[in-house]
């Protein structure tokens, strides 16, 4: 078996189609050209073309590693996790999970993975016990011991026993997220895909979840892919961290090595957050500038159109 748990090789994923016959776009382009602008091709493609969720992304995750993925909203983190968990098909490139291809061997891959997403998705009227037993049966588990295991995992995550049999809708968001983590642990996955698992949790719950993640790595040897917006969490938990921006992998290294990528401020070593802002913030500023220019061109084109219409109508109005 491969030493790498996951190999991501030149993966591309786009969503949506290019829109045809957009008269507003055509009008703006015509006006922009007639006003001496050099056209707005890049902006035009961004507005009307398919969204590039992942753009030729490649990396490897070693077995037993906690691998962090950071990135602003819409950077492609969840798409990456969905591709690994067989919920999406790549447009190009390949992913291998323990040497298996999720596109052609989905069932074999599904047996080895589990996922926790940012929103705890459950049958809200059912209790944690009913939801988790349903989940366990889908992975071929059953019998008395599964009930005991559900209680053990949930109490380990800090859930009170009385809550285990009440409907999920009566539980707080944090408690629901703990049940989501328990559901993923129940199938004893070799690879755990955690998509912002601590978002919305209080500090105590957050630490409990982080302790479980560490425990899984230390005692079970589980490979974990963790996406998060919490830089501190990434720094504490992850062996290596990748930074995604607009679907592109822009940095990948250990948290310590990544800190060398940002300049020192007042002699202080930068934090992972400084690195993140340094790598994605400047680019955001450039994009904002481009957006403003594009919007100005649009306003200019529309204003000119109105002026032209007024000029054309003026004689008629004066009559």
């Amino acid at each position: 078996m491969s030493e790498n748990a996951i190999i991501v090789n030149q993966v591309i994923k786009r969503f949506g189609k290019a829109k045809q016959n957009n008269w507003v776009k055509n009008l703006i382009n015509r006006k922009a050209k007639s006003n001496g602008h050099n056209g707005s091709k890049p902006a035009e493609e961004e507005i009307n073309g398919p969204v590039m969720a992942l753009d030729t992304v490649s990396f490897e995750i070693k077995q037993g590693e906690i691998f962090g993925v950071l990135g602003p909203n819409g950077s492609g983190k969840s798409t990456l996790i969905r591709l690994m968990s067989t919920l999406l098909l790549p447009d190009d490139g390949q992913i291998l999970v323990m040497g298996l291809d999720p596109v052609h061997q989905p069932i074999e891959v599904q047996r080895m993975i589990n996922r926790v997403s940012v929103e705890a998705s459950f049958f809200k009227k059912l209790s944690p016990m009913e939801n988790l037993i349903y989940g366990a049966r889908l992975y071929g588990m059953g019998g008395k011991e599964i009930r005991q295991r559900v209680v053990k995992i949930l109490t380990r995550l800090g859930l009170e026993k009385r809550n285990i049999f009440n409907p999920m809708e009566e539980m707080s968001r944090g408690m629901q997220q703990k049940v989501a983590i328990a559901r993923a642990l129940l199938s004893r996955p070799k690879i755990l895909l955690l998509d912002e698992p601590t978002t919305g949790l209080d500090p105590v719950s957050k630490r409990e979840v982080q302790a479980v993640v560490n425990e899984l790595k230390e005692h079970e040897g589980t490979t974990i892919l963790l996406t998060t917006h919490d830089m501190m969490e990434a720094e504490i938990l992850c062996d290596r961290v990748a930074i995604l921006h607009k679907g592109k992998l822009i940095a990948l290294d250990t948290p310590e090595a990544l800190k060398e990528l940002a300049p020192r401020l007042n002699g202080h070593k930068p934090s992972l957050e400084d690195v993140f802002i340094h790598l994605t913030g400047d680019k955001l500023k450039e994009e904002e500038k481009e957006d403003i220019e594009s919007a100005q061109a649009m306003v200019h084109a529309i204003t000119n159109t109105e002026e032209t219409v007024e000029e054309e109508l003026q004689p008629a109005l004066e009559q």
């Binding site: 969503f15 098909l89 074999e108 037993i133 349903y134 071929g140």
Partner: protein, 276 residues
Amino acid sequence: MSTAIQNIQATYAFVERNANLVKRYWTWELVWMIYSIANSLSVSFIGMGMEVLSGEQANVDGRFLVLYLVIGTLVWRYLTTVFYWITDVISIERWEGTIEYTLMAPIRRVVHMAGQTIFAVFYSLFFTGVVLVATVLVFDLDMSQANLWGGLVMLIAGSFSFIGISIMVSVLPLLFPERGAQMTHIVIALLLLVSGVYYPIEVLPKTLQVFGVVSPATYVLDGVRLTLLEGTPTNQLWPQIWPVLLMGAALIPIGLWVFNLAERYAKRTGKLARNG
């Protein structure tokens, strides 16, 4: 653990989950049952109404008409309950937001559908049974000559073709996250029109009669009416049973094939995500 045991566990997962959902949403089920009984009674009273409206000279047999319509409403209630439980395989999970978790579980779609179907058939039989009891009590129907066992055999045989149609139609909520669930109603409305639920298909225009011939519901209704109205023995139902079994044998694999294609399309275009 052997694959067979894993598949049994996974099949049972859907049966148990749906039973739990019915238990937790019991008030909704009660409301739906009252609605179904009221609906069945309203349609069946048309039979009594016809007797009164036509006058004594017309010699309309009101009791026969009532039983004819009762059978239509009951068979239709059973088939639509099976249909909606199966087509809900996706829409209920979209509603709850669990669709990605179910579709990333290591189970084949045939196992998934088997679990949903087993529950659908048993629950629909129970549901229709309750509506039948209520209707019989209200109309004081004489079922002493009826071949109830034959009627049940005909219903079960007809279920297979409806299961195939339902699996095919269940892709609509997969492909159209916002309106797919509502789109399934059009299929059931068209089947209602052409299958002779409340009238013999001979009264339909010739073009619609052609659709009636290929609708499995037509044969189920014929078979059940023969057993309940005329007491036809079960072994004489073969002319009604073989067409629905044949349709089921073709429609179930076609349904699974269509579902797999739709699932692949949804995974390629990102339509599985909750927000569509």
